[in-house]
């Protein structure tokens, strides 16, 4: 026994790991040459990305809307650009709607407005995606676009959250303003109603996407030049 204990002690001494190094996280090292060295993305870059994101979403939603209109909506039923504003689901949101209001709102509220918009559209878009799959011969392009928009919107929400956290230095809970009235999964409306509803939904979403993009661009303008932005 004694030998074993001493033996084991010798063994342990001999096989003690000699190179036990604790890897400490070093300072920000960039994989690429001139990119950020720190652990986080800068605020300006983040804002640019968010704006770019919003632009893409608006562009794709515009294409989706026109495509949907051509495919499913006959001429008499087509909405004009100024008609469907009141029917949108987000009309109840406390977001600025006129230029004067936008001028008065602060950066914080601007960001929060954007977040509200984004979050309010996640659900309806998901629903629309499901609804479109029920059509008889919806082309793949429409479906793909809808899916894409839905995904990107979700991503945008994340970005806005990060942005808010970075700009306003606050951590907000990700909350989804879901309006239950819009989601009627159990009811199976007829095709025409469904189509018309989707059509209206798409139109509203297109307008809101444009609002998001505008708010974000306005925010950026304020960041760079506080005196020239309208």
């Amino acid at each position: 026994m004694l030998m074993t204990v001493s033996q084991w002690g010798v063994w342990i001494l001999l096989f003690w790991p000699q190179h036990l190094t604790l890897s400490t996280p070093l300072d920000c090292r960039d994989d690429q040459g001139s990119l950020s060295r720190c652990t986080s993305i800068s605020q300006e870059k983040l804002l640019d990305r968010v704006i770019h994101h919003a632009e893409l979403i608006y562009r794709v939603s515009e294409e989706l809307c026109s495509l949907f209109e051509e495919l499913f909506i006959p001429f008499p039923f087509r909405l004009q650009s100024n008609q469907a504003a009141y029917a949108c689901i987000t009309k109840a949101l406390p977001i600025p709607s006129s230029k004067s209001e936008i001028e008065q709102i602060s950066d914080k509220w601007l960001l929060h407005s954007v977040l509200m918009l984004v979050q309010s559209w996640i659900e309806p878009l998901t629903y629309m995606q499901i609804s479109m799959e029920r059509y008889d011969h919806a082309p793949d392009m429409v479906l793909n676009k809808t899916k894409w928009v839905s995904e990107k919107l979700f991503s945008l929400e994340q970005g806005v959250v990060v942005l808010i956290k970075k700009m306003l230095d606050e951590t907000t809970l990700v909350t989804v303003y879901s309006d239950q009235n819009t989601v009627q999964n159990d009811v199976q409306p007829d095709v025409l109603e469904s189509v018309m509803r989707d059509y209206t939904l798409l139109g509203c979403f297109k307008k809101d996407a444009h609002k998001m993009e505008t708010f974000l661009k306005l925010l950026k303008c304020r960041q760079t030049d506080k005196y020239n932005c309208a």
Binding site: T21, D30, I41
Partner: protein, 658 residues
Amino acid sequence: MRLGMSSNRQQRLCVAMMRNVAGVIVLSLLLVFVQLAAGESFSPPGTPKNIICRSPEKETFTCWWEPGSDGGLPTTYALYYRKENSDTVYECPDYKTAGKNSCFFNKNDTSIWVTYNITVVATNALGRAFSDPVEIDVVYIVMPNPPEEVTVTVIEDTNWPFLRVSWEPPEKADTRSGWITLIYELRIKLENEDEWEVHPAGQQKVFNIFSLRPDSTYHVQVRCKPDHGFWSEWSGTTFVKVPDYFPRERSMWILIAVFAAFIILTFAFIWLSYMKIHNLKHYVLPPVPGPKIKGFDKKALKNGKFEDIFSSLVVSDFPPTTSNYEDFIVENLEVFVPEEQELIMEDSKVLQDDSIKSENSTCDNDSGRSSCDSHTLLIDKGGGDKEEALESDQEGSHDERVPTSPEEAMEEDPLACCDEKNSPDISEKGKFTPSLFSPLPRYNLMNQPNPPEMGKKHCLSDSPLNPDSLPSYFTQPPSTKNDFISNPWECNFNHKQHPLHPQTTGKEHLQVQNEISWVHGDRTEASLGVQAPSVRSTEYVEVQRVSGGNTVLLHPVSAGQENGGTMSHQTEHYSRVKTVNNDSGLLLLHKESTGEEMGICLSEEEVESRATSNGYTASITPTSEKPMVGINSALPILDDRIASGYVDTATMFGLPTY
């Protein structure tokens, strides 16, 4: 004896213990040595290195690491990451999708809003190894897949084919919505070359390549890159064969032309350099010839002696003195001038060949009597004498012929008229008869060799002209007196001169009548009191035309036409012989008013008219050298028409009025 046995056992135990300890020590020493000799076979793992993360479409990304030594023991690797400013450590969700030593982050785990802090830990039985952490920003690690569907086609629309390369963005990269913006680059090389030719293509998906080598194979590759990111791998090589064409035509010809021009210039330069400059200058700019006057001495001029100089300039034979006017006479016309009537005929050389009728005219060139200016000139054919005279005149002899009596009779009136007009002429006889004269400009009738239409110009003397007389050559052998010689020649005398008109007309009439009476013996005009001798050869000859001033074409006038003295013929033009030069010429005068030409009546002899240099002069050379008296005078200038040497009776109008 018992006591020795227990001590033996103790001694044996001690020895055993000592053996064990020594064994242990030896073993441990051996182990140490073995360990030192065999390296790290059993050791904690080495640190993973070179963590590389890439995202193909900015929606997912994958990280790869390079494992260190595993220490001889099975080692596990784990990837841990933290999100930006968060301490929550997450582990890689997927180690398998991307292969060994990799970690795949799917869409849900990928966020473009935050950075990732990634660490790989190697763990084995003996320990762990932590790699260096890596900061990841998904946007900046985008490395797309290579472009797809690279197609290369040869466009052969023109003579110069070119390549058109087209491709598609990689499948996963979402360029359509603008999520990723890609720029492209392609490279090309010939089949047997080593170096690629790189062409940036921007954001377009089509690219043209020109200036190809014919009949060769090219390799083409394309790659792409997002605006912030890494270049993709080169796409697979696409092979293209360029057909054979001949693009060298234009460039080859241009080259040949330039080369030839260069050679020519070189030769020209060499030639120029061989030539003396002086010669060249003379070749290009020939010297201006200076004045060279024969006998002129420049140096004398410089000396200032003008008299000497200019005297040398005086040429002795200038101005030319007219020594002998006869030199100008080519041929001599022998005019047989009847006493009474002098007919001047003009003849050309051609007529010499034929029998020339001489025509006698009593008119004198100088006298200007109108009586002489009958439009028809009685052509006194004379008799054989005349004709002989003519013929003799043809030969050029100058014989003075005395007209026969009828001729004389004929001559009387004209002579009378001639006396009025030109008295000096009357004195001349035999030589020539200045039958016609008028203050018209005189003409010089040049002798012309063989005028085509003219033929001879005769004033036939004897007989009235035949109606069918031809205005061409005629050969009228002066055979009979009464023969109506179809004489195309007619001496017409223009008696339409204004100043003498009233005077002349009467006299012309008279003359005519007289002439008629002479000529036509059977005429009824005998009432004129004109002697009607057996005019054997008096004919009316009308000057058809004057050719070249030399000849006067005469054609006989039909008898009928001469009735009433109306000697007008359709194509008759009458002019008068102004004067007869001294034995040399018969000057025909042109009637100004009518612009008619002259008619020359030649003598019965062969008449040749010669034009002197100073005007038209029907040079009727009398047989003798008797100078023309009084006739030779300065005559008025010729008419233009005559001056041209051609008097066309046929074309002239304004027949003289009688």
